[in-house]
Symmetry: C2
Subunit: 431 residues, 2 copies
């Protein structure tokens, strides 16, 4: 049993996570929020109070922290007596925050892969470049570290694992599809940190095909998908974190990630990218100022958080699995639909932040109550997906399943009372 949560970061996902932690603070204990900018943390706390989202008594406190400073982070963990650290800051921080957790023996969670500000899209599998190098250190320290536990990566990893165990003998392919059918009404905006958003699309698109990495170009492959609620949508093969662990852990020969883009987004992206404005490498102005173009693009774009009040429409994110069951072809879609307006009403954020923040809190709750407190570093597909899916059903992100039997709410324990033989951590035995 672990209690007291330190949230690092004060962006959109941290905002949602703080609200959800506060709603569940009877289990989670004190909630601390820390970022470089104290006022951002204070604003989150004010919005929690305004929405009446703090359920039980306990601390709700803002802290100033440069999380690149490992000693400062360790001190804050100790001072606040936090046993779970939710790292929802910039992905540049991951390795520093993880180190602070290892040295203080507390649990670590994040929602996106570590990135080096100076590099884009490194050799696959990406997790092997940074995070997995700390596996032994986590095991030795008995530290639970759950990597990439937002929606994608995160929930989609659990969907992949769950789908395999519940519905298939063999799985040939997992296509992860991420569609935002919402509208923010601005000329152009990214739904989360533009710097991170664009970095996803500016280099090689890795896909896992026939058990091997395949290099593609951005916007090289597109496909129209027919999805529940959002209907027919064009999505493009995109590089994404989850492929880099699922390919290693699931034994499925084809795993691909597809992201929906409108023509307008692609046009703006192409212009910026072709001009070199999405580059993470500094340029020098005529006046001699060294500046990273991408950081200037970020500075002129709307703050993703500012989109929330007028955001309408829904997201649909899920895994389409294809394979066989009892010798017959089988096709199953596991998915969630999230509504921008409802998310805003509940926690003051749009659905993109909501879908990333809620799973991280669900994971923290599973660590807090011991189910997922596995004392080692894992990716989500290595854990029992059922308690995770079941908990999210209750705290805002219900899962549905569409297959030959129809389209229905998913009761994860009912449809899969027993997991496969595959090694699984945090496994729940159903009586």
């Amino acid at each position: 049993m672990k209690r007291n949560v330190l949230i690092i970061g004060a962006g959109g996902v941290a905002h949602v996570a703080a609200h959800k932690c506060a709603q569940n603070n009877i289990l989670l204990g004190d909630i601390h929020i820390a970022s470089r900018t104290l006022s951002k943390c204070q604003a989150i706390i004010a919005s929690i109070k305004e929405k009446g989202n703090q359920r039980g008594p306990g601390q709700l406190k803002a802290h100033q922290l440069d999380a690149m400073d490992i000693e400062a982070t360790k001190k804050l963990i100790r001072d606040t007596n936090s046993q779970i650290v939710l790292n929802l800051g910039s992905p540049f921080l991951n390795m520093s925050v993880l180190q602070a957790c290892i040295e203080t023996g507390v649990a670590y969670l994040d929602t996106a892969i570590h990135e080096d500000p100076a590099k884009v899209c490194e050799t696959p599998p990406w997790y092997a470049n940074y995070e997995w190098k700390r596996r032994d250190a986590c095991r030795q320290a008995g530290v639970t570290a759950i990597l990439g536990v937002g929606f994608d990566p995160g929930v989609v990893n659990a969907y992949g694992r769950y789908g395999m165990d519940a519905y298939f003998d063999t799985v040939d392919s997992i296509d992860i599809i991420d569609i935002n059918a919402g509208s923010h009404g601005r000329y152009f905006a990214t739904n989360f940190d533009p710097e991170i958003n664009f970095r996803e699309f500016t280099s090689t698109v890795w896909s896992w095909e026939d058990g091997k990495w395949k290099a593609n170009a951005m916007f090289e492959h597109k496909k129209e998908w027919d999805l529940p609620v959002v209907g027919k949508r064009t999505a493009y093969l995109t590089g994404h974190d989850e492929l880099h662990s699922m390919s290693a852990n699931l034994g499925v020969p084809n795993i691909r990630f597809w992201m929906g883009f409108g023509e307008h987004y692609i046009n703006v992206f192409n212009v910026l990218n072709n001009l070199g404005l999405l580059s993470e490498k500094p340029v020098r102005t005529a006046e001699g100022l060294e500046v990273v173009p991408l950081k200037v693009v970020k500075a002129v774009l709307p703050d993703p958080a500012s989109l929330a009040p007028t955001y309408t429409g829904k997201t649909c994110i899920g895994d389409l699995l294809k394979g066989t069951k009892n010798g017959k072809p089988q096709e199953v879609l596991l998915y969630n639909v999230c509504d921008h307006e409802e998310a805003y009403k509940e926690v003051g954020s749009q659905a993109i932040s909501y879908t990333a923040g809620v799973p991280a809190v669900a994971a923290a709750m599973l660590i807090a109550d011991g189910v997922w407190d596995v004392s080692q570093m894992v990716n989500v597909e290595e854990l029992d997906p059922r308690p995770f899916i079941e908990l999210m059903n209750r705290i805002g992100l219900p899962t549905r399943v569409r297959d030959a039997r129809g389209d229905r709410d998913l009761d994860p324990f009912a449809e899969c009372p027993e997991l496969s033989e595959r090694e699984t951590l945090g496994k729940v035995v159903v009586d």
Copy 2:
């Protein structure tokens, strides 16, 4: 008679002007080139020597100068014994360089209106905001200052004046049309300093209609023109310097400027502009760096000079005048066609720089031989256009005329032996 030329600036236009001055240094004397970056001046001199463009003996020398520093500019004028200053640097320098010329009593020329880095597109007429405030000072000092004597503004002002005197009793409209039908082969590039290029299009488009200023939006009005050599081309109503003096000096009720743009240029422009990346107002990055977005866009775009070696195709710039002669409707197009490849062969620049640099040198030559040395501040349409057009016919920018009589080379003195009654400076009497 004035001799010795100090060129300020080392960009594309300065490059062309330096070559042309060197070709005509028997008249112009010593040629000095000064800019913030000494190596750029040295590179220009090296290219003049490489092309064998220095005609007579005399100095050809590079200098380091911050031309915002009036005292340093005055010292350089005196040290080099220059009597003509060709200001071809950034338009932010105009008022400083002009002041240095007034205080040292030497002639001043430029090719673009003064701009304040912090403002875009000020109240019309633009010349009244800065340059014309120094008219009295020029007159008192007996200083010849010719404003805006590139192609547009510059030659097109002379075309307006010449057309009125040579072919019309009354002129109802002058449409200045600037088409670059060339191809640089890059994804996107501007043909001169991107900062200045974009500043032309990011705010109100002023046109002179029915004797009044009219405010339009960029890309609000377009028109297809059928022009010699380049054929049918779409051009857009654009704000431009020359309207701001011609409207005051010529008594023509409608004066408009049209610039040709391809759809790709407009798309890129619109994306950058809508995102706020063409703003001259600083933004602050998440890391706290203050930076002007437009300066970063400039930094990532190709150096206009780098386009020259592979630039193909032609420009066509001219004035279409409509009015009456002897009670009948009359329509005359005065124009020049310039070839990118030929310009590169001769001086190592593309046609955009060539068409701006050659007229400035022609004007300097007319000051040097006394014809245009008028001891006051003028815009080009206040001067006798004939010696200017005639001189350009001989040094690289021949003028043609298209009217009911056909399409032909223009012999300016033959077609207009006598100017109108309008006050004209630097007037040449034809014997």
